[in-house]
Each structure stands twice: as structure tokens, then as C-alpha cells.
């Protein structure tokens, strides 16, 4: 019986390994190939890695991806906690409704959302029109659209649902009586948050943070269509190298460097969160 069960699990394991590692292996191989006349030629060349190593642009963009991922994560955490905790206090039916509302951004396609943001934030857009109508500003605030601000705002908005859902699921499992116990023992609400709720929701925080980090660090459409001249991303560069430039070795090397950097940062984030007072006890047991 055990033999058979192991037997059954084998294809799944193979599929997982193949699905994760095979593309990586291909990228590694490609990064050492050469391109001749739009043809990828197997070789063992360090040309791509050499170019990558000295390219300030490439490393700047990788750094930018990390920064974008981290800031979006921080913003969504800061906004996500109050929302998630408020959700836990709703009645069962209100919760269902709230989750549907929360997920609304995800029902619309990304492109639709992007153009909607333009309507909201544009020079002749909703926000500027209202502010001008109220006499609060004379000239439209151009910085609302096509600026780093826009990227931050929209990435936060797009990723907030993932963070809220992750924290919420975790927060639902925190016994309310623990919070009362903390209050009873002299904790103000803010103390109860940092000493009880936060460590006990670390699993959700970690899941949410890693998801949001990965999604926002790798985001390319939103920056390029809403970020204006500051919208260049490592992802778009990889895309450009694979496509327009047909420099698959460099594209592979850059993709691998980006992946490795994001992986390292994500690991560091996970490690840091595990060090939150007592979080290890919660996760270790779960």
C-alpha cells in the first residue's frame, strides 16, 4: 500500500520539479549561449554575464524592482492591517460582502484598471477637476499621473487585496480572548496589536508580504503605462531583450539575476518576520 501511495505521489513531485526547475535550467543554459544572426547557438560564453556585471542600468533596474516591491509591501501592510482587523469584527454576512468588495479590483482586467486610473488621476481627470472646482488648486496637479507617486499608489491598490486576505485569514484564527487577556493585563489597544495580534498573524503577514513583494517587484504593465518617464522596469527590459533585441543570453542572465535578487530579499524578509517576538513558536506549531 505504502509503495503504491508513494508511486502515486511520484508524478506530482516530478511535475513540480519539472515545472520549477526546468525553466530555470533553460535560462541558465541560455545565459551562456551565443547569438549569431538571430540564432541562438549553444556555447559556453560569459559574454552575457560579463555585460550584465558592468551594466549600471541593469543593476539600477534590479534595485528599483526590489525597492518597488518593498515599498508596496510596506504600504499594503500598513493599510492592510486595519482593514483586515476590521473585517474580523464584521458579522458573517457582512464579511462575505466585504470580501467581494475588497476583491473588486481583481475582477476588472489590469488594462481596464490602468485606463480607469488615467481617468481618475489625469490632468483633466476626476481628482484634478474636483480640486479645481473646489478652488483648492489653480493648475491641475500633474504629479498625480505618470510619476513615481502613481506607480506607488496603483501598485498598493492592486496588491492590497492580497495582503488584506492573507492577514485576515490569519487574524480570524487569533482568539479574541487573547486580545482581551492582553487588555486585561494592562495593554492599550496599540500594545495589544504589537504584542499579541502582530506576532500571532505573522503567518498571514509573511504570506501576504511575500506575495505582494513578488507581484509588485515583477510588475511591468502598471509602471510602463502609468509611471510616465519613470516607468522603466527590469521586467520590461527582460521583455525587450528577449523580443526586440533578440539577445536571449543577456535576457536570461538578467532574468536570473533579478530572480536571485528577489529571492534573496524575500528570504531576508521571511527571516526578519520570523524573528518577530515569538513568531517562530506560532509558525513552528502551525
Amino acid at each position: 500500500m505504502t509503495f503504491r501511495q508513494r508511486h502515486l505521489a511520484l508524478p506530482v513531485a516530478v511535475a513540480i520539479i519539472a515545472g520549477c526547475l526546468a525553466p530555470l535550467a533553460v535560462l541558465v543554459a541560455f545565459s551562456f549561449y551565443e547569438v549569431e544572426e538571430f540564432d541562438l547557438v549553444p556555447a559556453f560564453s560569459f559574454r552575457a554575464w560579463g555585460e550584465l556585471a558592468v551594466s549600471a542600468t541593469d543593476w539600477f533596474l534590479i534595485g528599483k524592482a526590489v525597492l518597488s516591491g518593498l515599498t508596496t509591501t510596506v504600504f499594503t501592510v500598513v493599510l492592510g492591517y486595519p482593514v483586515a482587523l476590521a473585517l474580523t469584527r464584521l458579522s458573517a454576512s457582512a464579511k462575505g460582502l466585504a470580501v467581494i468588495v475588497l476583491l473588486t479590483p481583481l475582477y476588472t482586467g489590469e488594462i481596464v484598471r490602468i485606463y480607469a486610473w488615467r481617468i481618475v488621476l489625469g490632468g483633466e481627470g476626476l481628482v484634478n477637476t474636483v480640486l479645481q472646482g473646489l478652488g483648492l488648486i489653480d493648475e491641475p496637479m500633474k504629479v498625480l499621473l505618470f510619476s513615481p507617486f502613481t506607480i506607488g499608489l496603483v501598485l498598493t491598490y492592486n496588491n492590497l487585496p492580497f495582503m488584506v486576505l492573507a492577514i485576515w485569514v490569519s487574524a480570524e484564527m487569533v482568539d479574541r480572548r487573547l486580545i482581551e487577556a492582553a487588555r486585561d493585563l494592562g495593554a492599550r489597544p496599540v500594545d495589544a496589536f504589537f504584542r499579541v495580534i502582530l506576532p500571532l498573524t505573522v503567518p498571514g503577514l509573511a504570506a501576504g508580504s511575500l506575495t505582494v513583494f513578488a507581484l509588485s517587484a515583477g510588475e511591468m504593465l502598471t509602471p510602463s503605462l502609468l509611471g510616465g518617464t519613470s516607468g522603466s522596469t527590469a521586467m520590461a527590459l527582460v521583455d525587450n531583450l528577449f523580443g526586440t533585441a533578440f539577445d536571449w543570453p543577456l535576457a536570461s542572465a538578467l532574468a536570473l539575476a533579478l530572480l536571485a535578487t528577489l529571492f534573496l530579499v524575500a528570504s531576508a524578509m521571511a527571516g526578519l518576520m520570523l524573528r518577530l517576538k515569538g513568531a517562530r513558536a506560532v509558525i513552528g506549531r502551525a
Partner: protein, 364 residues
Amino acid sequence: MVVESRMEKRTEPALSPLLLAMRGIVKTFGRSRAVDGIDLDVPERAFLTLLGPSGCGKTTVLRMIAGFERPDAGEIRLDNTPLADVPPERRPVNTVFQSYALFPHLTVHDNVAFSLKLRGGVSDIGVRVRRALDAVHMADFGDRYPHQLSGGQQQRVAVARSIIAEPRLLLLDEPLSALDRKMRGHLQIELKALQRRLGIAFVYVTHDQEEAFALSDIVVVMNKGRIAQKADPETIYSRPADSFVADFIGNSTLVEGRIQARHGDRATIETALGTITAPAAEGLAVGDAAMLVIRPELLSMRGEGSATFTGSVGHSVFQGERSMVGAEVGGLALRFPAEAPLSVGTSVALWLDADRSFITRIAA
């Protein structure tokens, strides 16, 4: 109401200053009245028990004292200061929760140190944690996490955690209900000793009357959000304020009747089993419907003169050193202890120690 206040005077330990006073407290959840107008005083250093069936409002009372619920009406004062606008963290009251509510992510040591660390500037945290853990015999468990402890150990940690900040008042919500009988008995003794040693007032919730009697200076019996009786255990046992209390306490048989005569403390009640004269609750007057409370130990198979009741054995349960027998008398089952089991159908004659039985009012 009138009766209660008279009772209070009689039963409260003399000269104890008042710590907590609740007046006219009402709490409604949706359409259900969890607490329906109660007055409650807790003297300093008292061990007061709230006793009552499930759902009668005990936990709700504790939660209002701790500050987790706000009364719809009435006032709570501690040291004569209204608590209405004081949040839980600023009340000198700590709680041992029904489920212990230990922080799963903190070690025993950190659980116990929780309130001191919050306070900040406490230099002798280590010493005090150790002392608190010593007090509950858990000094060796500081490094464990709650999930590595037995139920009884968790309960003790919960107690240590709530006494370390030296509250004026400790609230305990059925802290022993999850434990086996032996462990419960053991911890009851420890809790009582601890309370004496610390000199802190305890408000203790249970629905186990034996536990209430074993521990308390004052027992408050609650029924449907109201206080049915508030007195020392002995009074509750021997002079239940009404048929609800009498029924809830012990294995008494309640026999309904009507007062025929009243002489001072005593009254004569006419029941289906005959006419009996016994001590009676104050305020019962001739013609009132009332209830004769017959506790098992007041019935004996031997006695002088003619037997009070005669009947036949309906059932007999062996309980070790004695048996509990139910005798069919005039359509009622009278429970009494016998030295040996009796066979069903045997006819028995029973003598009642009427002077120790009690005639009480019928609960609303």
C-alpha cells in the same frame, strides 16, 4: 429585594471595607437580557463566588467588572470610583479566563511577565515572575510554551500571570471546569490558600456548588440574570432563599404546600405528605404557597415516636460508603442515605429532622 438586603446585613463579614459595588446593572444582548438588574458588593479580601446554571449571566457580570462589556444601565464603582470610562487596561482588576487565554507565542515566563513588561521601568521582573510561578508551583516551567503544558499547568500559569501585577480584584471564570475531579480538588485548595496569602479579593465563577461551598466567603446564586440569593455557604445550604436555590443546591426533595400557621421563625406547612412544622423563610405568611425543602441527610430510617413518612423503595444506588435510596412516598420520590443497599419494593419508614429542614418561598 427587601429580603436580600436583610440577608446582606446578616452575612457580610463585619467591618470589611467595600472594594467593588455594582448597582442596578442591566446588560442586554439583542433581545436577550443577560443581566437583569443586579446589585453586588465585594468586600476587600473576600472570596465571592457567582454560582448558577449555564447562561444565567455569570461571565457577563465578570466581563462588565473587567471592562469588556459596558452595562446598559447601572453603575460599577471600585474603591468608590465609577469605572464607566475606565478601559480594561486601566482597571486594577485581572482575569483568569474560562479558557486560560495564555499567549501561545510566549513562553510561560513571558506570559507571566506580560503585564510588568508593559508597565515599563520595572527592574525586578525576573524576581517577581519567579515568585509568581513559585506561588503556583510552576517555577520549573518558565521556558515552556503553553502548548507544552497540561490543562492544570496552564491554569496555574494563568493564575500566576493575573496575580503578578497585584490587582485589587481577581476575577476567575470557571478556571477549573476543564480539569478532572482530583486535579480540581487539588487546585481548589491551592487557590484558596493563595487568596488568603495575597489578601486579594476574588470573584470566582462556577456552576459547581461543591466548589462554591468549599472556597467561598460569600456565595451569590444567580438565576436568569438576577441574584437569587447572596449569603455565606452555610446559609445558602440550610436556608435557601427560594425553591430555585434549594433545587440547585444539593439533592433535596422539594414538597409543595401551603402555610397553615406561623410562629416566629417557624411555620407549619400542609403538604401532600402531611403537615410539618419547620423553620421558615421570613415573610411567608399564613395562606401562602411555599416549598418544604427536605435534604437527604435529614431523613433517617430510625427515630422516636411514629415515623414521619412511610413508603416503598423505588430505586437504590450504591455509592461506596453508603447508598442513596429513593423512596416512593405519596407519589413523590424522597432521597435519603442508607448504610446498605435496599431492594426495590421494600417498605420503609422515615423520620424527618424537621428542625433542620426549611420552608422557603416558591421561585418566580
